[in-house]
Amino acid sequence: MPGSVTRSYILKKSEEVYLMSKKVLSFLLIIIMLFAILTGCTKNTGGTGDDTQTPKPAGNSNSADDNSNNNEETPEFAGYPMNKKDIELTWWVGQGYTLNEAYATPEESPFHSLLQEMVGVKINWQFPTAGTDATQAMNLMLASETLPDIIFNNIMKDIERYMEEGIVRDLTDDMESYSPAYYSFIKSNEIYDKYMKTDSGKYYGYGFFREDGGWNDTYQGPLIRQDWLDELGLESPKTISDWDNVLKAFKDKYGAVFSGPWSRVKASTISGAFGAYTLADYKLYIDENNKVQLAQAQPEWKDYLTKLHEWWEAGLIDKDLTTNDDAAVRTKALNGVTGLAYSSMGQLSNWVADAEQAGNGANWVGLQYPKGDDGTLSMVFGGYGIGSTVAVITTSCPDDKLETAMRVLDYAYTEDGNLYWNFGKQGESWDYDEKGEPAYLDVVTNDPDGLNNAISKYGGSTWSGSCIQATKLLYLKNKPVAIEANDTWFYPNEDVTAKWTFPSGVTLTTEESNTLDEVVSSISTYVSEMAVKYMTGEESLDNFDAFVEQLNSMGLPTVLETNQAAYDRFLAR
């Protein structure tokens, strides 16, 4: 046949083998690639250590009560450890007392493994994969079939929804009997009780509290260079007129300005002296008539921004104010670009350390919040010392494990448990000093990762937890100058640190969130944008009335009404 190419299909034996092995090889490669893809399909339980070996409770040397019943049919609670060897609780932690980065598994972590010893129950710890967002990880976990017995995350705001959807258990009936320590704690303070209940009066979870109430919630405030004040022979500024003088003096003599990291400054800074409640952040507050108001819609806020604009025009405020972060301000503090600033007590410790190292004689101290010339002080940055994180028990936890779970969570609020959650196991990470106060042992203070890091290896209350954070812990964590600063900010003004705040314990119904969803972000964008424009003078404050008009047309009345309804329900709890 013309044009055709005939091929001989009879090959030599070696060629055949060669071809065959090539086929085998390519099949193998395909199979390997398929497997490589399918590894991505493994189920992610969102946790570590599924088949862990928990250390056996090492005897009852720490229990107050040695009568632990273990083989009874209906065991009565007789103190910790409970010796429930057959019960295992799964506990998912989204933030706060997550695994310290020094450890790969919970077994290595002293806090997590010793807690099991202290309560006498096996705990299967689960954490979101390092680096992932806690809320995302939690939502992923919630979508799966079985949930862990205990979940700890900042879900207080949506708790009504979770209870409706049948995820979170209602603990009201058993709270008093199975968690006596926690129950008496929240009953001791009306605010605590309101926060930890739903609008319908149900108890559901174990929250985070600071021992002294709001002390450390006022962790930021004004800072000043005492050495400059001394050089100029000036007194610590107490009123806004004093601030006028000091700012001008600092500018004339040192060319310095008022500065601060924008993320902290925009919250409120010195708004209290004007009767205002915010600088740029969208903020709702409670006025004297228990009514919810928007801080930016008030004439007092206009006065505040007028003053700030005056200072801005006079060159007394850092022109980089809205782009500063903590690092930038720290540099400015070191370089003498600023002498009067606003930042946190933690940052203050850094500035003091920098000054020491540089040996420039700078003496940074905390300065009290200024009052208006007429004595006004409507508010100071702070809160009630109640966190928005909470530990809840899910409906996946069977009834026979319920009591154990509630007692395990209650442990943190007992005297022994409080010490453990804050400092760790006595004798291991801390012990009493000569004054009878807890003090850390060398293993913590000499930890190469640093003191703050070491504290969170042994305790669970450093950042937030289902426990009460001891004030002593904060004292041990921070330098004396930072503690003094916090005292200066908090104690003189204690009564205005929290009662103006819109409580984070207020919950919204689904319709309410949907209504607010539509308008709040545009309002919050608008007010924060305008705040900056008013301060720099890009917009004139003469147009303030038009500004309020615009807010009203954007839906402000609806926002206030909706939040008011939710707040009223909160008060009625």
Partner: protein, 321 residues
């Protein structure tokens, strides 16, 4: 009729004499079955990770609650889209997004081409390699570090300000002024990506036939004329394809960079769809809303992609598909 295996794919049916699809497919499969087997893992990957998840787009039309799952969440139809389109800032967001994107393409797209052309002209090998390495390096610096550097330079007493003062101007914080935001954004973008993006053009340049250059030199064309008449047309297919792909990402303004650089003072020009949606999402875990916005983004992107592909095909007869 006898049929001969002559390697031609189109087959003729024994009975009717017409080409049929099934015969074509059978033939194709028999000839190429190992090739299909090789790409099977890729197809599985695409189906599992790109196509199957598209089902999740449906949450843009629901009030998604993770605990209820996709199927059981309440259907709300166009609510989230309405919410988005009727937002007070909707037009501003669209304007900013298109501006940033458009200006990025206008200035950021030709830059690597110019760099590649420039590098191509360098004869001194070590110099060329040094320039290449230096321009590649910024690509590997993390965006967070770059933005931190940028913020430091544009501060009131930063490097740029001091330069301006030296030239007789006033110091200022450039990230507080609307009119400087786009230049800052685009220039830092170009600085970071120019080296990396020029790689593909340099690769395309090597495929241009060297004989053409010789012929041009003989005809008396100088370096510049050579570039216009040989190099650029040689690069045109690559440029076209990359341009169409770029248009397909027109609404994807890199939101991390904007988040790191913007502040309330310049929301007017810097607030884009993705940053606004991000802030909105902080209030509640607004999965459905952000999916709706994302879906809108994708629809616009695909429209632009198809449009530019069509225009390209009609004008230059080159296209992606």
């Amino acid at each position: 009729m006898n049929l001969v295996a002559n390697g031609n794919l189109t087959t003729v049916s024994r009975v009717t004499g017409h080409k049929t699809l099934s015969h074509t497919l059978q033939r194709d499969f028999k000839l190429n079955k190992y090739k299909y087997l090789i790409i099977l893992p890729i197809i599985v990957y695409l189906v599992l990770f790109a196509y199957k998840p598209m089902y999740g787009l449906i949450i843009a039309f629901k009030d998604y609650r993770p605990a209820l799952g996709i199927a059981a969440s309440k259907w709300v139809g166009w609510k989230h889209f309405n919410n988005f389109f009727h937002d007070v800032y909707f037009w501003r967001l669209i304007r900013n997004t298109f501006s940033i994107s458009g200006l990025s393409i206008l200035f950021g797209f030709p830059a690597p081409i110019l760099l590649a052309l420039f590098l191509n002209e360098i004869r001194v090998s070590w110099f060329k390699r040094t320039i290449q390495t230096i321009t590649y390096m910024p690509y590997f610096i993390s965006m967070v570090v770059v933005c931190s550097l940028v913020r430091t330079y544009v501060q009131y007493d930063g490097l740029i300000s001091q330069l301006a003062v030296a030239l007789g101007g006033e110091p200022q914080n450039y990230l507080m002024v609307n009119k400087y935001f786009y230049p800052i954004y685009i220039i830092s973008d170009i600085w970071k990506n120019i080296g990396w993006n020029s790689i593909i053009y340099l690769a395309a340049l090597t495929s241009i036939d060297q004989d053409q250059y010789e012929a041009a030199r003989i005809d008396g064309a100088g370096r510049f004329k050579q570039m216009i008449h040989i190099t650029l047309p040689g690069l045109l297919p690559t440029i076209t394809i990359l341009f169409i792909l770029r248009m397909g990402g027109i609404l994807n303004v890199g939101y991390e960079k904007i988040l790191l650089l913007y502040n309330e003072g310049i929301y007017e020009v810097s607030d884009v769809i993705s940053t606004y949606t991000y802030r909105k999402g902080i209030l509640n875990a607004a999965y459905s809303y952000s999916t709706a916005v994302g879906l809108f983004n994708s629809v616009v992107n695909v429209t632009f992609l198809l449009l530019s592909n069509f225009i390209s095909r009609k004008t230059t007869e080159m296209s992606l598909f």
